[in-house]
Chain length 303, copies 2
């Protein structure tokens, strides 16, 4: 089954303690789609300006990503500039230029409307809903959001959340959305807002998934060098949804595996700037890292 | 096999967003010994003042803890006062009165000297070494420490660490001791200081264990109500060492199980003030929580 993603396509300028990169390929939809493309076919909905480099389009197409829903508008491509200090868990935004995203009006090509797995990446909740309403009969709808929308567009977000099966969100944002400090209680409040599943992203501490009375905990892979955390969350989302779509199985057992697949994908992205690590990644290496998550977490029975 | 612990016996005054308690039983050695006593016999080395309530001694004795090494000195018992805000990961110390600990000179009863599992809880590294030198042939020596000693008694700490098999330490303190932000690299540096195993405590994010080229990750149990985190780390240590001693097996596979046992024990302690939850805890409930850790972390194979 295929995955549809709506989100940003961006040119990112990022500096970390280990180096910097200017106007590199970025954006939630690019990270998500590239990650998911290792598992299944992906349709991308987004907008770029006339200045978006052809080489980036060629790269996305080379991953088999359907770009029919990628509009080109007059104006400049969305740009983000950020900086990380030694605490790589926190991005400091230096500059955000919405550019063509200010007037973005997503319109799905007809062949996109049969998508079964839908990922509404982090954009305005009204736009997320507008995309979702164009999909005929989705099997699983996941949504990512951030503090900016929780604070500034709470009503729109709550309206959109009613139509969502799974919310993927950072830990601090889960607490903020639920207005509850305890994460277990926050999860229950969020589940009452609509999404019956909640995937809480905790950066280097991994992921907690709440689903149907179950809780699942997966660590992040302990890396010796985290080079640039940009896009880790969306890469996780792409691996998670791509794996679910490829198996066509949204059972809780398979969602657990999908969390580990997503975590494995994210562990690659942070090894280099931009999408560079994913460009050279091979499927066998993903399978190997999945096994390394097993070795990292397995423990036997009490003796 | 039996466990020996040296550490503090204290009267704690603690306030959390959920209540407060005055001069309750506390101290690293008490949390550790009580937790370990569910698995094996424990010998305690510490000092109290003449004001230490008999009921607390009776409780420790009722757990089968050997108190022959608990000195009573003239003066007052060690006291700690602390406060937690809604972020329960961080204790704010309001007051520390060393009292009888200022002149503490640990002297082991002869029958203590054959201990095989030794836990040097968080006290001055010179005292830790003095205790260790009195033990004849320990099978596994673990040490806990804190930023206060890392900053103020670094040379003593480094000297003591050379004789230690396993260091149990908070995440921030691991980075501080190694002077290295990346935890995987910090672990390698610490292992070069002496301890071939490192157990990094990450509060609500669980535990990472580094041992012999292996890494093991265990989550903390996601609790709906964390009432008072005081003593969680020492309770973890007691479960970890108690389980290892009870099985007599310090293999890496068994150390993984011991990490989960310790995590289970800590998850009980934080449910109530002081040692109150451990007072009513039954062994079957510990086994049940171990199984809940399995359910929390298990995931299948890729399909």
């Amino acid at each position: 089954m295929s995955v549809l993603v709506v989100g940003s396509v961006a040119l990112d300028t990022v500096s970390t303690p280990f180096g910097q990169v200017e106007e590199a390929l970025g954006g939630s939809a690019c990270y998500f789609a590239t990650s998911a493309s290792f598992f299944t076919s992906v349709s991308l909905v987004a907008v770029t300006g006339g200045d978006f480099p052809q080489e980036h389009l060629d790269f996305l197409a080379s991953r088999g990503i359907d770009l029919d829903g990628l509009q080109t508008a007059s104006g400049k491509t969305f740009r983000w500039a950020g900086k990380y200090e030694y605490d790589l868990n926190e991005a400091h935004t230096l500059d955000t230029q919405l550019n063509v995203f200010e007037a973005f009006d997503p319109e799905l090509p007809d062949h996109y409307r049969d998508a079964e797995f839908v990922f509404l990446a982090n954009i305005h909740p009204e736009l997320q809903l507008k995309v979702l309403q164009q999909v005929r009969q989705p099997k699983l709808v996941a949504l990512d959001t951030m503090n900016f929308w929780i604070e500034g567009s709470r009503d729109s977000l709550l309206k959109t959340l009613k139509h969502v099966d799974l919310l993927m969100i950072n830990e601090a944002e889960a607490r903020q959305l639920a207005e509850e400090a305890n994460l277990v209680q926050a999860a229950r409040k969020i589940q009452a807002m609509g999404p019956k599943s909640l995937v809480v992203k905790r950066g280097e501490y991994g992921v907690l998934m709440f689903h149907d009375g179950h809780v699942f905990s997966a660590p992040a892979y302990p890396l010796e060098e985290v080079f640039d955390p940009t896009g880790a969350g969306d890469t996780f989302g792409g691996g998670f949804m791509g794996y679910l779509a490829s198996t066509g199985d949204a059972s809780v057992e398979n969602m657990r595996r999908a969390v580990v697949v997503g975590s494995a994908m994210a562990s690659f992205t942070v090894e280099k700037f931009s999408l560079d690590r994913l460009r050279s990644l091979e499927f066998g290496t993903i399978q190997e890292r999945f096994q390394m998550f097993k070795a990292l977490t397995d423990f036997g029975d009490l003796v």
